[in-house]
Symmetry: C2
Subunit: 346 residues, 2 copies
């Protein structure tokens, strides 16, 4: 299998290197051959080529089986009015790969419950899979800007809604068979189209329970009843906000992985944390989010379920017994956590 | 002073009646004359007239000094694809009154910390004033819908941004002089216009500290560092989501008030909870959100600061010593809580 790595900016290279080390150990242990190819994205790509997603990077990603990304952005490229910005590389990559379904699983490890802002009793049995639409909505709609006025268009077609919602229902079948669709159908036309499309798709899945929530209510319910939810599907911008809110429950952003899938070949895998410029280059970033993203890569792009579970179990042990990185209250560096995970892989 | 009441649907009439009782007691105690006029809005207005905001209601509101609203909506009118919906009345009223600044204060009463999903140590010193833009953005932008595609346009002019941001800075001067502006400037053009406008206005307020946050980060920071924030200003849809998320911290939605202000005459005051159809008509709804909205009405529309504080102090005592309604773990009905507040007004 061919895996393209896009380490990107800030702590991206450090955590990506740790995840690659884990993939190499899995390859050796389970006798697979993974070919890795590193490419540029984000601020580092702008500095080197003038573009946040150089053609060579995109071509490599298109022909890969999977893409493992670190993070993009940093203070050097943080002017939102600059013509070229690191985030553009990420958005262009998502669009080019057609990875319309962004999966963000959330569980709270019992050993880390003390780090969560939520009370312990609220954290019991949280096991949510967010499915965020990733290639549509206001992110990719028409935009205008003049001196006096700006616009962003949120646009969704039925086909765009159908495919991501179907993915959510399929995933629910492998879980607790409960889909919560989030929209703002009392105000937005795109949400009303979203809701009626969801209703129609749901009829194909009579074995899956469907619930609708408004996005404002959902922002509250994630805090008051987080363990009520199984699969949560929503559009791009609502998903961006709700998944970050939910991530706070886990105690540290550094722990959480994501997988972005389309119908095509290459899936895109990235930890949900950003480039964390304040700790970049110090070897203290938590590699767990990136390592768990590598596990998702094995599961969803390479079909290697046993190997994915091997990584997840190894991480589980390390979270339980340590060593812990700084963000989760320990003193271990990135390499120490990586080595502990490597040692725990069976 | 002339006050129009719009009790609306569900628990709206019950909580509005309690708030009116409090205003009457204040009027008697401080020797003011308040004239109350009740009008229709929402589902009950649709049933009576076919319209969610009848012309008579709007005319009364326009000529009033302040408007006190209960809640709109309910299962009877909940089809988002229906041509006429209760929420349309509320949105039309906000637009017609030009109440572009929606103030939502958040404090967590120490006696209710056990109800919050957040850990107690996170709840210390939370004192946030959200200023949500209320008459622009995707709520009021152009919408299209065909069989296959729907669009919502988010549109902001510099003038719309300026006035609400200026209001936020002015309010910060009466508080801890810290404004946090929330946008998604790494993706949205309206957010980039928002951010540069905020930066320009901030220069007029060198005594106020300005911070920018992306909406996804803010959704997380509200949980991890809620006591870091003073005034938080944002656009309409982000404000809808973030204020509901923040409201969950208080332990019950039933506690929280809001004020919607423009440059014109009548301010609009409403509890942030909805119509709560599940408990409507039972006399158990918490009237505190509505009563505190009446206090904001006295402060912002009638300039009666002492009287506003008298209500707030009375509510504070009742929250401390009881009686408590069901949503905050007690057994008291709406009338019992109302009477306790009335008795505590000095
Ligand atoms: C970096 C940014 C453009 C991105 C997004 O908003 O999608 C990030 O927040 C994410 O959630 O992956
Ligand atoms: C009822 C609904 C249209 C409204 C809104 O979205 O503004 C409500 O959620 C609110 O926050 O006041």
């Amino acid at each position: 299998a061919r895996i393209v790595t896009l380490p990107g900016d800030g702590v991206g290279p450090e955590v990506t290197a740790a995840a690659v080390a884990v993939l190499k150990t899995v390859a050796a242990r389970y006798e697979h051959v993974f070919a890795f190819e590193e490419q540029l994205i984000g601020g580092i790509a702008i500095d080197a080529t003038g573009e946040p997603l150089p053609a060579a990077s995109l071509a490599a990603c298109r022909s890969a089986d999977a893409v493992l990304l670190g993070a993009v952005g940093g203070p050097k490229w943080s002017d939102p009015n600059a013509p070229v910005r690191p985030e553009q590389g990420l958005l262009a990559l998502r669009a080019a790969l057609g990875v319309y379904a962004n999966l963000r699983p959330l569980q709270v490890h019992p050993a880390l419950a003390n780090l969560s802002p939520l009370k312990n009793e609220k954290l019991k049995n949280i096991d949510v899979l967010f499915v965020r639409e990733l290639t549509g909505g206001a992110y990719f709609g028409a935009k205008t800007r003049s001196a006096d006025v700006a616009t962003d268009e949120c646009r969704y077609t039925v086909a765009e809604i159908e495919r991501v919602v179907r993915r959510a229902f399929e995933l629910a079948r492998g879980r607790r068979r409960h889909v919560t669709s989030v929209d703002k159908a009392n105000v937005l036309e795109t949400s009303r189209l979203w809701r009626s499309t969801v209703q129609r798709i749901a009829a194909e899945y009579p074995d899956v329970k469907l619930e609708h929530q408004l996005v404002d209510s959902m922002a509250m319910l994630l805090l008051t009843q987080p363990n009520r939810y199984d699969v949560v599907v929503t559009e791009n911008l609502f998903g961006d906000i709700l998944t970050d809110e939910a991530a706070a429950l886990a105690g540290s952003l550094g722990l959480l992985p994501s997988a972005s899938l389309g119908d095509g070949k290459a899936g895109l895998y990235e930890p949900i944390h950003g480039s964390a410029p304040d700790i970049a280059g110090q070897g203290v970033a938590n590699p767990v989010g990136a390592i768990l993203s590598a596990a998702l890569l094995l599961r969803h792009s390479l079909g290697l379920e046993t190997e994915a579970v091997a990584i997840e179990s190894a991480v589980e042990q390390v979270l339980r017994h340590g060593p812990h990185s700084r963000d989760i209250g320990g003193h271990a560096g990135t390499g120490e956590v990586r080595d502990a995970v490597l040692a725990a892989i069976e």
